[in-house]
Structure formats: structure tokens, C-alpha cells
């Protein structure tokens, strides 16, 4: 018999949609209180919130803060040239990627159930391989999807790794018109970001 209980009241029917809107509000509220700083590190690196060091993308990539309640900690956004407004690229670091398992392979499957859920684009995994991430076991997934009605396509790369015993993720999404080409240079920038990433202190969970 457990000594304490958490009672969590919720509603299934609207919870997925309401989570998104509530998280946006939470992220905005947090930003109004304390805005995590992006400061220069050594050898061209950048340090976010005194905790994450990495090679930052060159201009014109714009920093996007996520924070508590969001599905990413921070990321970088770039509006790309093209005939459609949505032609853009966004990449991010997430310390709470979709899913719940501590096993990376299992977490990847859970992650894919939720990733792109709200876009209604059916994503196909075109590559899946084990690799080293953050100096330990990791997994790289490359996905592509099309929206025939809107005339758009998207390519994503997801890198799953470990921080302590929990799974963390890096991901990049690039949207294009169906007849436009993907920009590999943006994926190279993302790879430099993820490959250079390191933690400057222990996570909340490692110190709990």
C-alpha cells in the first residue's frame, strides 16, 4: 500500500488539444518571469540557460524558447524562401520527448505515435539506425511525409539519446512545397548542433 496519492483530474476527449494550448500559455508565462539567456561559450559555442553548450546555427536562425510545459527546451527556426508560407526549418532539443520508456528503441516507437500527430501527415521512417549520442547509446530516425491535399512535404530527423537514465531528443523538421527540394545544409547545421551538444550540470532528475 502506497503512503501518498496523486489525483489527476482530466478529460480524455479534449486533453490532447487542450494540452497544446495550455502548454503555450505556460511557456509564455514562464518567459515573462525569467527568460533563459543564450550566452557565448568557448571556441564558438553557445550556452543556453547556463546548462546546455552547443555549436549554434549561423544567422538568420532565430532562437525559440520552449521551457516547462513545452515539448522542447529550446530550438532554432528559419523561414526559408519558397512559394508557400510554411516553407521553413525548425530544430530543437527536448528533455521530455513524446513517450515514456527509458529504453531508447521502445521510446522511439512511442515517440513516432505522437510526432506529427496534430499535422495529420502520415510519416514514413526511411532510415533507422543505432549510433552514439552524447557519448552513449543512441538512435537516429529519418522520416518523410507528404500532404497531397495541401501540396506540401516534410523531412524530419530525430536523434534519441540518454541523459542519466532518461531519454532526451534532438529533432529537425523541414517543410517544403511538394515540388521543391529539401535543403541538406540545414540538416548539416542540425547535426553540428546535436553533435556538439553537452550538459554543463546534472539534470533535475539526476539530482532528485
Amino acid at each position: 500500500m502506497k503512503t501518498m496519492f496523486i489525483i489527476s483530474c482530466f478529460l480524455v476527449v479534449v486533453s490532447l488539444g487542450s494540452v497544446c494550448s495550455a502548454h503555450e500559455t505556460a511557456a509564455t508565462d514562464n518567459a515573462a518571469q525569467t527568460v533563459p539567456a543564450l550566452k557565448p561559450g568557448d571556441k564558438g559555442t553557445a550556452i543556453y540557460d547556463g546548462e546546455y553548450e552547443f555549436m549554434p546555427p549561423p544567422s538568420p536562425w532565430e532562437l525559440i524558447r520552449g521551457g516547462e510545459g513545452s515539448d522542447f527546451v529550446f530550438g532554432f527556426y528559419r523561414k526559408d524562401p519558397g512559394k508557400l508560407q510554411l516553407e521553413s526549418t525548425f530544430f530543437a532539443y527536448s528533455d521530455e520527448p513524446y513517450g515514456y520508456s527509458k529504453d531508447i528503441e521502445q521510446r522511439a516507437d512511442e515517440f513516432l505515435k505522437r510526432f506529427f500527430w496534430s499535422s495529420h501527415v502520415k510519416m514514413k521512417v526511411v532510415d533507422r539506425k543505432k549510433t552514439t549520442v552524447l557519448g552513449a547509446e543512441g538512435l537516429v530516425l529519418v522520416l518523410e511525409g507528404k500532404d497531397a491535399i495541401k501540396g506540401t512535404k516534410v523531412r524530419s530527423k530525430v536523434i534519441l539519446g540518454k541523459r542519466g537514465d532518461r531519454v532526451v531528443a534532438f529533432y529537425i523538421n523541414q517543410w517544403r512545397a511538394s515540388d521543391s527540394k529539401f535543403d541538406q545544409a540545414a540538416f548539416d547545421t542540425f547535426d553540428r548542433f546535436a553533435g556538439s551538444f553537452r550538459f554543463l550540470k546534472k539534470s533535475f532528475y539526476e539530482t532528485l
Binding site: L11, V12, F204, L208
Partner: protein, 104 residues
């Protein structure tokens, strides 16, 4: 709910059981739990009396407001937060409570 599932091993460490409560029927909750892989108990309270008891029932609406409560071993509600659960805040509170309850 997925965040709670992610933290079950930490709730165990603090001797805590998480329970979800909603006004959805059992079949809906079963489907939803299976789809999301939720393994902790989800309670169906279609009539909504639990919502009235915990003050999360907005008038005549057929749903509960989102609220997280932590109840200690004496049955006292020690933590109440509205809106989406703040999982780190919950864990930090459980750690504090666990330390308090471990004291003579």
C-alpha cells in the same frame, strides 16, 4: 498523463500512487490508456460526484477542470495545482513530503 507514466519509477521511490480521474466512460478510458500505454489506474466517474468533491466540476459541463492533488497518508490534501500538471513541481513536492514523513 504521459508525463505521469514517464515518472512512475520516481513516484515509486517516493512511495506514491498516481490515479487519473475523468468523467469519460470506462470503454473510452480503456482505449485511451491502451493507445498511450498508460499503466496506472484511470477512474471513470461519469456521474461527476468526485468532481464536486474535489471542486473541479464546472457547473453543468460534462467534464472536469484539470487539477492535480497530492494526498498524504493521513488523507490530507497537501498539494493542489490547476491546469496542466507541472511534473517537476510535483516531484519536488513529493521529495519534500517524503522527507517530512520520514522524520520521527
Amino acid at each position: 498523463m504521459e508525463g505521469h507514466q514517464r515518472n512512475l519509477y520516481l513516484y515509486d521511490r517516493f512511495d506514491t500512487q498516481v490515479v487519473g480521474v475523468s468523467r469519460d466512460d470506462v470503454i473510452t478510458l480503456q482505449y485511451w490508456a491502451k493507445d498511450l500505454g498508460i499503466t496506472f489506474p484511470l477512474l471513470s466517474n461519469v456521474s461527476g460526484w468526485l468532481g464536486v468533491l474535489y471542486d473541479v466540476q464546472p457547473g453543468d459541463q460534462p467534464f472536469f477542470n484539470r487539477r492535480t492533488m497530492i494526498i498524504d497518508k493521513k488523507g490530507i490534501i497537501r498539494y493542489v495545482r490547476d491546469g496542466s500538471p507541472d511534473y517537476k513541481d510535483i516531484l519536488a513536492f513529493l521529495k519534500k513530503l517524503n522527507r517530512e514523513e520520514g522524520q520521527p
